[in-house]
Symmetry: C2
Amino acid sequence: MLLAQLGVRYERREVDVVDRSNRLELLGRLNPGLRVPTLVFEDGSSLGESNAILWYLARGSRYLPQDPFAAAKVLQWMFFEQYSHEPNIAVVRFWVAVPGAPVVPDAEIEARRAAGYRALDAMERELGAREFLVEGRYSIADIALYAYTHVAGEGGFDLSPYPAIGAWLERVAAEPGHVSITA
Amino acid sequence: MLLAQLGVRYERREVDVVDRSNRLELLGRLNPGLRVPTLVFEDGSSLGESNAILWYLARGSRYLPQDPFAAAKVLQWMFFEQYSHEPNIAVVRFWVAVPGAPVVPDAEIEARRAAGYRALDAMERELGAREFLVEGRYSIADIALYAYTHVAGEGGFDLSPYPAIGAWLERVAAEPGHVSITA
């Protein structure tokens, strides 16, 4: 979504997210975490971690505040996304909605679902008082959290008790240059 | 550790990490994730997420590279720390070493321990070729990953097969201004 909004051209190469046996061969020289997304530049250098990539691409644009404290708040939300949101909301969706995903005990799914709702509670508290997550202006913090929030329903999360999140999802989708990020 | 190395004075307030029932009351206005650490400034503003705090405090110092690509690599390692390292290495240590921590099924401990070793494998691959994680220079990426790596043994992790990590832990501890970060 950010690449589209910045007008940056790129080539996308798909990687198997179920069979990960070739990850060291495929990504070992590109990303220590052996994860996708991994961004490879034309000069062969590379960068891993979705939110580090967002930060690097957004520098100097309207999608990352210039003010250091506001930029730190953007990072705060992106670390929240990786620690409290993605491991619960995205991972539960992966387990219940992606063919071939590992079979996981119900108790673990329910524990992660409860933690996912706590992450949504945090977002709802904040978004009740502002249009976007940081200083009321659309930024990469919103992009990072929009990604798995807008498909949380596919993981069995009920967003109907979250009206502020619902209104925010609509505002994000109304941003200039917004594109669908699901197939 | 960074506050000590920067020579910044601060007051530390301890928060219960086992009984979290008062977190919304204590942190609701300060940190949407309701987690510690949360940094509160003299003007009452606040910042959550350990690595967002490190980034904000380190700006303009020798602990965060000026070059944007190197700074993005620092963030890459800090997101790796939050996604692939802390939830496995720190959380397993919490479960097995902290009195009052939740009782967790052995299978989940072992799954997280295996994931923790994969995070250590990633660090070992990188540190075999360089002195510190980003551009061979000590930075907040090293501080972020030193924290729970240097006490991984308390969680039952065996670091003896990781000689590059062992040498790096010694280099971090030899940095000017290094202080113990465990009680």
